[in-house]
């Protein structure tokens, strides 16, 4: 994104030392600038999003009709596995880190991230990790096909692709941990004078909490997959009963990471929505303090609900009851957030530019995913629908209509700040309507499939499931193509478009709107004073 090339930067403000970026490729390789690194993260995640999307279309192609049409079952499993891994670790997580890089220093009035060089390293680690994942498709035996959860002992059976996958996740985990340490340090130490924690923008709050979650759970994932690795190659039997291990232990460890992980992917989204809704309602966020408390309670509760992913492994009734109760509790703080957003909209003076459309779309569709989550939390119902398409529908409602829509909302909201240009509103609205309509066409019928008993991760199915699968496949292709509109909008905004001032949105608030658009290469070299 050449947008942050600050051609006019020399004219205003700081006159002391060099402050433009170097040019050429080395600028991006060597950069320690939070805006450059944010841009890198965002492009990286977008490319991974398209890659994961192509894999998803491969899945939907096969499932368009019953029977085996295009892929053999083994390759089909590789598609579902890699789609999950790439979307979670390659697309959604790095995209939020990209937002964090761009926005946290701007929102707290800091000149850059605390550890600028480590920031460069956390990004560039992702590239070899992504390459390992992609290369794994081409090694003998292909990519790992054990599902994104990599359950042992299936994962101990896989070929070389599994090892590459494990290494990729180790590297991505290291990158996430470094990124999180950076974010925590920046937020705790580099806020502008006067910005107390309880005056901090919601996006920073949600990221602060997310970063703690990441630091707590990424090492747990690393532990689980390292044990798989030693089971595979070094004769240990952590997950092999014949050697005294326990396959279910893998699931406990994995989900101790995995459940906080789903909040890692949604809390920053909550942060973004908490900026967009007030801006377009032209009214302050309702219940700021309760938002902070709700986010913290969600984070804490996320550590004691992991086994709700494992109700069918056969735990004692007391275990099932505990995890059911704890899981249902999470609905309470999540509900508080939704109510707060609606109260923010209430009696506002709303306009519906693309960021707001995506935010309202988020609240509406994410809440549907919340309801199905509540239904899944009820152990007996979960036992009926676990590992069926109902669960696939549920988590795509919270991850696509949740995290992804929030990312779109945030991109449209801040892209004028990033590029200095207003995006094409008409195309933006088209992107929103196409996305939300095709999203529902794709995923709504999956609830029915799941209730009727169609398991996930199968390449072929009973003919009675055919119609809903066909509808879902049509929706998926529509959804995939709609994302190209987004690419066009972004490229257009980078290239040109109406120039915007410091604050293009009437109701926007926060320090990021006090600097010029596009944000100069260096900002807040002297800290602003926050009242």
């Amino acid at each position: 994104m050449s947008a942050v090339l600050d051609q006019h930067g020399h004219s205003h403000g700081h006159d002391d030392h060099h402050h433009g970026p170097p040019s050429g490729l080395m600028r991006w390789v060597m950069t320690t600038n939070h805006k450059d690194i944010g841009t890198l993260y965002l492009w990286f995640s977008f490319i991974m999003f398209l890659t994961g999307g192509v894999l998803a279309l491969g899945i939907r192609m096969e499932l368009f009709q019953p029977g085996l049409q295009y892929w053999n079952p083994e390759f089909f499993n590789q598609l579902t596995t890699m789609h999950g891994l790439i979307m979670v670790f390659g697309a959604i997580m790095p995209a939020f880190v990209g937002f964090a890089n761009w926005l946290i220093p701007l929102q707290i009035g800091a000149p850059d991230m605390a550890f600028a060089r480590m920031n460069n390293w956390s990004f560039w680690l992702l590239v070899p990790a992504a390459m390992l994942l992609v290369i794994s498709f081409f090694v003998p035996g292909g990519a790992t096909a054990a599902g994104w959860t990599l359950y042992a002992p299936l994962s101990t059976q896989m070929g070389l692709g599994m090892d590459l996958g494990i290494f990729a996740m180790h590297i991505m985990g290291a990158s996430s941990i470094m990124g999180s340490i950076n974010i925590v340090t920046t937020i705790l130490n580099m806020r502008a004078p006067g910005m107390t924690l309880m005056k901090m923008p919601m996006f920073c709050w949600t990221w602060l909490i997310t970063a703690y979650l990441l630091i707590a759970v990424m090492p747990v994932l690393a532990g689980a997959i390292t044990m798989v690795l030693t089971d595979r190659h070094f004769g240990t039997s952590f997950f092999n009963a014949a050697g005294g291990g326990d396959p279910v232990m893998y699931q406990h460890i994995f989900w101790f990471f995995g459940h906080p992980e789903v909040y890692i992917m949604i809390l920053p989204a909550f942060g973004i929505i908490s900026h967009v809704v007030p801006a377009f309602a032209r009214k302050q966020l309702f219940g700021y303090a309760s938002m902070v408390y709700a986010t913290s309670s969600i984070a804490i509760l996320s550590f004691i609900v992991w086994a709700h992913h494992m109700f069918t492994t056969g735990m004692p009734a007391s275990g099932q009851l505990f995890f059911m109760y704890a899981t249902m509790l999470i609905a309470v703080p999540t509900g508080v957030k939704v109510f707060n957003w609606i109260a923010t909209m209430w009696k506002g003076s709303m306009t519906f530019e693309t960021p707001m459309l995506f935010a309202v779309g988020f609240i509406f569709v994410f809440t549907m995913g919340g309801f199905t989550g509540l239904i899944c939390a009820v152990t007996p119902i979960d036992i009926q629908i676990q590992d069926t398409y109902y669960v696939v529908a549920h988590f795509h409602y919270v991850l696509v209509a949740g995290s992804l829509f929030a990312l779109f909302s945030g991109t449209y909201y801040w892209i004028p700040k990033w590029t200095g240009h207003m995006y094409d509103e008409g195309l933006g609205k088209l992107h929103f309507w196409a996305s939300i309509i095709f999203f529902n066409i794709t995923f709504f019928p999956m609830h029915f499939l799941g209730l009727a008993g169609m398991p996930r991760r199968i390449p072929d199915y009973a003919t009675q499931f055919a119609d809903f699968n066909a509808i879902a496949s049509v929706g998926a292709f529509g959804f995939g193509l709609s994302q190209l509109i987004f690419l066009v909008v972004v490229l257009k905004a980078i290239k040109g478009g109406a120039k915007v001032g410091d604050k293009p949105w009437e109701g926007a608030e926060g320090l990021e709107w006090t600097v010029p658009s596009p944000a100069p290469y260096h900002t807040f070299e002297t800290a602003p004073q926050v009242k």
Binding site: F64, G67, Q69, N72, P73, E74, N77, G141, Y151, P153, L154, G159, G235, A242, P247, A281, K283, Q284, L285, F286, G287, S290, T312, G314, A317, Q320, M328, A331, V332, A343, M345, W346, K347, G348, S349, M350, M368, F371, I375, V378, P380, I381, I383, Q384, Q386, T388, F448, L451, A452, G453, M454, P455, D460, Y461, Q464, A466, D467, N469, A470, I471
Partner: protein, 401 residues
């Protein structure tokens, strides 16, 4: 349940109009005991537990629907009424402790009610005591094995694999009504009796599920878990493996045939007779040709999934037997591989097969495709090998360097 039927009718009428329904061309009909065409809800329950789950789901859905309408009624009212374009000026309230407490406490009460409703069912599902018949279901890559371990029918034991013909899967023949959810040997149980299912697995985790029974239980290698059901209606009920277990995960269905008490007793007798007939005459002298013929059947039932009919396997995961040194070398090595398996690989031990079956499958593999040892492995060889100690087995079965 009346409501569900009604919804299903409406949908049945509405969806074809929308659908790009690929399967519509073939006039698909409901699968007896399996999914209905465009089924919208949980299947009609056949056990007490399944009806409790069915009702719980309906209640949950109802509560969620009410909250949904209330919350989004407010939101969409605001979206339409509080617009700048309508000249609405922003109010400036931004907190209210009373409201915050209210919308924390009310949802709290609602989830407590929901949890309380579900607790009874959780406890009932876990109560596997006092079963009339106990059946062990073992997940294999990729079929199910069943052993009747207690109660009427004790001792019956068989494998159950997908019986949908390959041509239907590949689109070379029209798909039948039970496509993908049909097996060669169904699990048979009597109606109205408590059946306890023990689950375990040979290789990786599988899951045993029958939606109409409200049953799903993971089958974990090296461990035994249990679940139960008491079917209230005679009929055939269908499900499939629900935990990703490798390449043929989608192709290991589960079919339970619920019979009347009398029919069940009849079935048990038939099975016992069949089992006696299948037992090979211990004094029979086998010729090489007989062993090969028999071995081909064993191979097709037990080995093809991994080593393929061509004997070429799908390397590197599953090695070829065609041309393999181990297969063509001294008999003792392949015998040891079959008896011992290869630790830590998908190659499990097959010592549960009979001496004749093992001898036959080895004779077959040693004299098929490009393999031409010209000899035969005799049941007596297997019998002798079964006396080897673990050290000898390990040594002989080890992978050639």
């Amino acid at each position: 349940m009346g409501v569900a039927k009604w919804i299903n009718k409406v949908a049945a009428a509405a969806v074809p109009a929308l659908g790009a329904g690929a399967a519509l061309a073939q006039a698909v009909v409901d699968m007896p005991g399996g999914p209905a065409v465009r089924q919208l809800n949980l299947p009609p329950p056949v056990t007490g537990i399944a009806s409790q789950i069915y009702d719980l789901h309906f209640v949950m859905l109802g509560i969620c629907a009410v909250i949904f309408v209330a919350v989004f009624g407010v939101m969409f009212y605001s979206v339409f009424a509080h617009r700048k374009s309508k000249g609405h000026k922003p109010a400036d309230f931004h907190e209210s402790t009373a409201v915050e407490i209210a919308w924390t406490v009310v949802p709290m009460i609602i989830v407590i009610v929901m949890a309380a409703l579900a607790t009874k069912t959780v406890l009932a599902m876990k109560d596997t005591s006092n079963a009339d018949i106990t059946i062990k279901a073992t997940g294999y890559q990729w079929k199910w094995g069943y052993d009747y371990v207690k109660g009427e029918g004790e001792g019956i034991s068989f494998f159950s694999s997908l019986s949908t013909p390959r041509e239907q899967i590949e689109g070379k023949a029209p798909k039948g009504v039970n496509y993908m959810l049909e097996v060669d040997n169904e699990v048979v149980v009597p109606v109205g009796r408590k059946i306890r299912i023990l689950t375990t697995a040979q290789d990786v985790i599988h899951a045993w599920m029958i939606p109409a029974f409200g049953v799903k239980q993971d089958a974990i290698p090296g461990f035994i878990r249990d679940t139960w059901f008491k079917a209230e209606k005679v009929g055939v009920y269908r499900g499939q493996c629900a935990e990703l277990c490798g390449k043929e995960h989608g192709f290991m269905p589960i079919v339970v045939n619920v019979k009347t008490e009398a029919d069940y007793t009849k079935w048990v007798e038939e099975q016992k007779k069949l089992m006696a007939a299948k037992m090979d005459d211990p004094n029979k002298q086998w010729t090489q040709a007989e062993l090969i013929a028999r071995g081909e059947k064993v191979y097709a039932a037990t080995c093809v999934a991994c080593h393929q009919a061509s004997g070429k396997g799908t390397p590197p995961a599953f090695p070829p037997l065609d041309g393999a040194k181990v297969v063509q070398g001294p008999k003792d090595n392949p015998i040891a591989v079959l008896l011992n398996g290869r630790q830590g690989t998908a190659m499990a031990s097959f010592k549960s097969l009979s001496d004749v079956e093992l001898a036959a499958v080895l004779t077959y593999t040693r004299n098929s495709w490009g393999n031409k040892t010209g000899d035969a492995v005799m049941p007596a060889d297997i019998k002798a090998a079964k006396a080897w100690d673990a050290a000898k087995l390990n040594q002989l079965s080890a992978k050639a360097q």
